[in-house]
Amino acid sequence: MRKTFLKSFLLFTALIVSQISFSKEKEEKQGEEGHGKDLQTEIKEYILHHLQDSHDFSLFSYTQENGEHKYVGFPLPVILWDNGLKVFSSSKFHHGETLAEVDGNFYKLYHSKIYRTDAEGTITYDEEHHPTNVKPLDFSITKNVVMIIVTGLLMLWLFSSLARSYAKNNGIPTGVGRFFEPIVLYIRDDIARPNIGEKRYKKYMPFLLTIFFFIWFLNMFGMTPLGINVTGNIAITTALAILTFLITNFTGTKDYWMHQFNPLGNALPWYGKIPLYIILVPIELLGLIIKPFSLLIRLYANMQAGHIVIGSLIGLMFIFKSWLGSPLSFGLAFAIMLIEVLVALLQAYIFTMLSALYFGFASEEHDHGHDDEAELAHL
């Protein structure tokens, strides 16, 4: 018990220390550059950069004696659709420092987004300082895509080996499966069963399990010093929420749709319902959209906020640069990191839980005798 605690403590310390060293490299690099930018702006930019997706998998970067930046990591393929498919390595961008020339077109990496430019790489702006250059459709295998694949493979390996261990070991999990089996059972018994119902929960189980472990693992990956922020990306959470939305509505029963378009049932005659329905039906329909929207925003904002807070606290160390302030912010960063581990699990749980709840609403079949009374009582 003590030994495992010590181990995990060391692991956490290592994680945080590497986060610090990660940001330190960046800070030093910028410090030497010294283009009139102060440290605060640097840290802010660094954090914002960290939150974004990137076209290469850089673990960290540092500056050599001669002022040249060295990046440790590997480039990833860029796939663009710009009047034809264009595939090239992101090393052509040299981390945004140079233009990439492909088939006579020039592309520039600007704030982690690819724009088509002329040979000089000029970017034109509108009044609100948004680039007006053509943005080709970008289907690149970015850092986040790589992490999704890694997580997917990890999950496949973990859970298929768990499944195999059942077959091999006469229904008893072995190894790491002993840790994951109770979680699988928890999702089944405490999330799916009570929220969806004993009869119908089975068909939703694969989705709930996959989404729970997917979000949880990616959240935990976000805690590592690799500087990944997959679940804190709006595109990812949107994709997940849209899947929940689609499943909810495609498995919706007649009762569910009746509830959407005829929420009062037969409690009122038709002429009484008209004035109410002018307000009620749009609200119900809006609820359909708001539910997945709040799902996607919640996950995104929580992960984003966690990363910002930890990044800021680590950045504070370099702002204070004192014996009092830096350890203090280190301690704070450590505490927040621990909370984030909890949040990583909690957000996965809430996403799964709410998805299950929505599925439960959609697949519910109530008996019609009580329906009207229940609806009236509800009003």
Binding site: S294, I297, R298, Y349, L354, L357
Partner: protein, 63 residues
Amino acid sequence: MEIPVMVGAGLVVIGVGLGIGRIGGSAMEAIARQPEAYGKIQTAMLIVAALIEGIGFAALFAV
């Protein structure tokens, strides 16, 4: 971001904070009254808190 909008977002966050605080408080009282229903109360609390939190985020990002 304009200042009125930020103030509005701040107000929403205050409201959400109060709301979640109330839920948490009520859940604590409920658990104190019925410790055997701990699991059910916690689940319900998390769901409602998550729903309110969603409103807060929506307001924040609408800014």
